[in-house]
Amino acid sequence: MSMVATPKDTYLAGFAALERAGTAAPAWLHRIRRSAIDRFAEIGFPTVRLEDWKYTNVAAIAAIAFPPVLAEAPAGPGAEALEPFAFATPGPRLVFVNGRYSAKLSSPASPPSGVRVTSLAEALVTDAAAVERHLARHGDWARNGFTALSAAFAQDGAFVHLAPGTRVEEPIHLLFVAAVPAAPVLSQPRNLVVAERESRATIVEHYVAVGDDTYLTNAVTEVVAGEGAIVEHYRVQQESRRGFHVGTTEVRQARDSRFTSGSVSLGGRLARHDLNVRFDAEGASCELDGLYVVGDRQHVDNHTLIDHARPRCTSRQLYKGVLDGASRAVFNGRVIVRPDAQRTDAHQTNKNLLLSESAEVDTKPQLEIFADDVKCTHGAAVGRLGEDAVFYLRSRGLGETAARTLLTYGFVSDVLARIAVEPLRARLDALLMARLRDARAKETR
């Protein structure tokens, strides 16, 4: 009777438990979950044999059993533990502990009329029609083991719905906290942002940890931007140094909509983010900025995919990375320009700064252009700090480490400057400058 349980069995057993608990999922969601767990059982986690995962080996994730969090509202950390991650903005803040909504820690504020900011678990009841129309409908959840696993356990996360013409001035802060008291857990927030016609909002997805634990965050966010809608989206990943983070953001854009993204990746032992944008109608635009700063043995992987499916759309990407220690980064920027997507304007830049001999970057632009009247550029660079600049700063009294850190800060400052949420920008700025001060302190010792 006794058999060695594989990590995969943990997920299948977790799914069976979810089914037994009979969480009142509507029939349509139940069907998706069932197909998704079957898909996961079939394909498991991706391996390096797959082109999309060639440089990111998730064997370390596959080897660990991360029991899915099924219970509602885990005890979680105290409010004071979250203080370092709060912004000084009066906007709504939803807090999720291990992927589950915590009413106690959240301050949803009262959004303008026509705007819903709540948990997905609640929205499944209160906003059933909107959730059914969009949840797990955008992007292919069958694509890989992570997206399949997310769909199989889709039950909680953030739900933001903007009625036509509504605007939320203050950024909506979605704080995902990993709090692991004992064993590793699997946290799977599932977020849905629906911005109807001519609406506008700023969303900050923020992944943090209160301890230094091993866990897996497997997050999926779907963003639907209606005609003329403007969605500013930030995604800040500050997982623990032993945490694993896999995230997928699926964006669908209607006519003349605008999506801006600031994706910042600082934490995690291994972090992967897939950002997939599809233009479903003419005149849409997106601006994707990315910043990753890693060290030690961290691994960070950014995959972007922009599908210029319709004419007259504009995309601009600027991803910058700083690598220290024996860290590794991957950037894969794929741009598809479909045959009738004339007058496409697509620009992509990826720049990397290596601070050590043993850090490594794999950067790969992937342009697939099937239309002829298009403007597409791409550029990738991997470099080191200029020794003349280091000497210049040292000759002004800055220690070598401080000099290098200031130059490094200079390298990333244009991406930082593009973060329009001032408190977030200031926080990230301070975080990087703190490294400067730390470096200085270390030197003095």
Partner: protein, 256 residues
């Protein structure tokens, strides 16, 4: 303050400086002149500690310390300043941020309190006036997109902020129009006190009309071939460097 003795230095096994001897006392201004390729800039860079140059023989004593053993930042903290011939552009770092970091770094190492934002701005305003730069200058990235003259004035601004004991100016006068030259000269003169010393490396006599040197040295082939008072500069201006080269060749026939 500064004693350079028999200094040999160069790059990749090739000596550029071949036995420099120079004594600079507090309160003095020394001009080091010489034709292109004579080693003037190398001397300036070696004194500031540029890692690209290796010192093969000789010694440099600064305020009783072995300067050559000090890393560049320690030299700066001990009051040595080099105004670069070609100031480096640093994209993404604002001039204000850079200047504040430098000033506070040097202050803390000298046992002074760091300046807060307000105190720093006050100091900065005063020094900006000295080099006739406006406030917009400090919000731009360090030297990025600066004209040649702006870069040189930025060097003088840094010097004025850091208040070095020994300032080494590496052809800070080159490529400046007369107005900029006067501003730079004014900045140098304002640093002149009985406690400070200035080493002015220059190709031309021009700046010496505004900054009067106590001593003038002529560098040829990595050696000081002649030293004199301020009149030596005028003589060089009138006759060019060729006569002194020939002269030096006659004095030191062994030189290759």
């Amino acid at each position: 303050m500064l004693s350079i003795r028999y200094l040999h230095a160069g790059v990749e096994g090739k000596d550029i400086l071949r036995g420099i001897d120079l004594e600079v006392k507090a309160g003095e201004i020394h001009a080091v002149m010489g034709p292109n390729g004579s080693g003037k800039s190398t001397l300036a860079q070696v004194l500031a500690g540029h890692p690209a140059f290796a010192v093969t023989r000789g010694e440099v004593v600064y305020e009783g310390r072995n300067l050559l053993e000090m890393p560049p930042e320690e030299r700066a903290r001990a009051g040595v300043f080099l105004a670069f011939q070609y100031p480096i552009e640093i994209p993404g770092v604002s001039n204000a941020q850079f200047l504040k970091a430098a000033v506070n770094e040097v202050r803390t190492r000298q046992g002074l309190d760091e300046l807060d934002a307000m105190e720093f701005l006050e100091l900065l305003r005063e020094k900006l006036a000295l080099v006739e730069m406006d406030q917009s200058f400090v919000s731009r990235a360090v030297n990025e997109g600066f004209s040649g003259g702006e870069k040189k004035r930025n060097e003088i601004l840094q010097m004025a902020l850091l208040q070095p004991k020994l300032a080494i100016l590496d052809e800070t006068d080159s490529g400046l129009d007369i107005d900029a030259l006067k501003i730079v000269a004014n900045g140098i003169n304002s640093l002149r006190t009985p406690d400070n010393a200035i080493l002015l490396v220059t190709h031309y006599q021009r700046i010496l009309s505004y900054v009067t040197p106590d001593r003038v040295h002529v560098l040829v082939g990595g050696r000081i071939v002649r030293s004199g008072g301020k009149d030596l500069a005028l003589e060089l201006e009138a006759k060019g460097y060729d006569w002194i080269r020939e002269d030096a060749g006659a004095v030191q026939p062994a030189r290759a």
